[in-house]
Symmetry: C2
Subunit: 158 residues, 2 copies
DNA sequence: GGAATACCGTCAGGTAGCTTGACGTTATTA
DNA sequence: TAATAACGTCAAGCTACCTGACGGTATTCC
């Protein structure tokens, strides 16, 4: 059944496997009601701050989308937006104390979950999985017209 | 840089790599403006029809969500919803002629893209990738309260 | 030095993809 | 036969995106 499944579906399903674990950890252990999109931001949130435009490029979404996510996190007191000392047109998104705790929990969770996965399917497969995923795939084939934007989360949009 | 990236992000990015190729193929070769969510449905669309509730369970979303996607595809003439001969409370979602052509193109594209990937990163890594992804991971750890629903697409929602 | 250009965040308005809740219909189970 | 469960669907609401446009700030270029 899963043997003949296409790689795209498999990749998405496995992403959701991780994502679900993360969301549950953040919810249960810190009472956070972050969304999947917000939680993904955490992975790229250096403690010394980062520009929104930078995050946008990193995640492959528009600056506006990032702006919205950041505002949500700000409302929950997880990040604060401060002036960038290096450039007056930019502002830095930086986790608060509580935010840093969440970021740490998120990273911890990912690593724990990966460890758990190793006990389930073995060290070798996980290493091979990571290696295959992390190697350079280049740009997607079939390149052409079409809009460049993607989705940060895991939904099925445009 | 990508070496230390967490598996979740890697999985999502690679899913998007495939998804983008699919969307472009459907757009360029058939002029279809299907969304990412709709295109994912294709992977699970048997030519002899399937129930919406079945699709919902398969993709891990609500029946209502599927209903919406199906209506979108119906508007574009890609599927038709017909009575289920086996049960009067159910209806079958079945691709039209044009729909079947799209489904075939989608499957073809996935296979071509995978072939292309093999020439880029090698046969072994792709085989290992598929094997690791398709093996039984069991339920996500950290199980607990929280809502069960996930997202079909690739976005970052609740 | 000053003007064009490019980049930063953000407002406004719009869409797709979801959710929960509720309902009528049909099938299954007790 | 009566309760229960499953199917599709309507309604309302939210989140995650998008494009377009704007006013500030840097950078580049004559």
């Amino acid at each position: 059944m899963s043997k003949s499944m296409n790689l795209a579906r498999l990749l998405l399903d496995r992403f959701r496997w991780f994502d679900q674990a993360l969301l549950m950890a953040l919810n249960d252990r810190m009472g956070l009601k972050v969304t999947s999109a917000q939680s993904l931001l955490f992975a790229d949130l250096p403690f010394d701050g980062i520009r929104q435009a930078h995050l946008a490029r990193r995640l492959g979404v528009s600056r506006q989308a990032i702006n919205e996510l950041v505002q949500g996190l700000e409302r929950q007191g997880l990040v604060e937006v401060v002036p960038d000392p290096d450039s007056r047109r930019s502002r830095l998104v930086r986790p608060t104390a509580r935010g840093r705790k969440s970021v740490r929990l998120a990273l911890e969770t990912f690593s724990q979950v990966e460890t758990e996965l190793r006990t389930r399917i073995g060290d070798r497969p996980v290493d091979q999985l990571r290696r295959a995923l992390a190697s350079d795939w280049g740009d997607p084939p079939e390149r052409s017209s079409m809009s460049p934007q993607g989705r940060v989360s895991g939904r099925l949009p445009t």
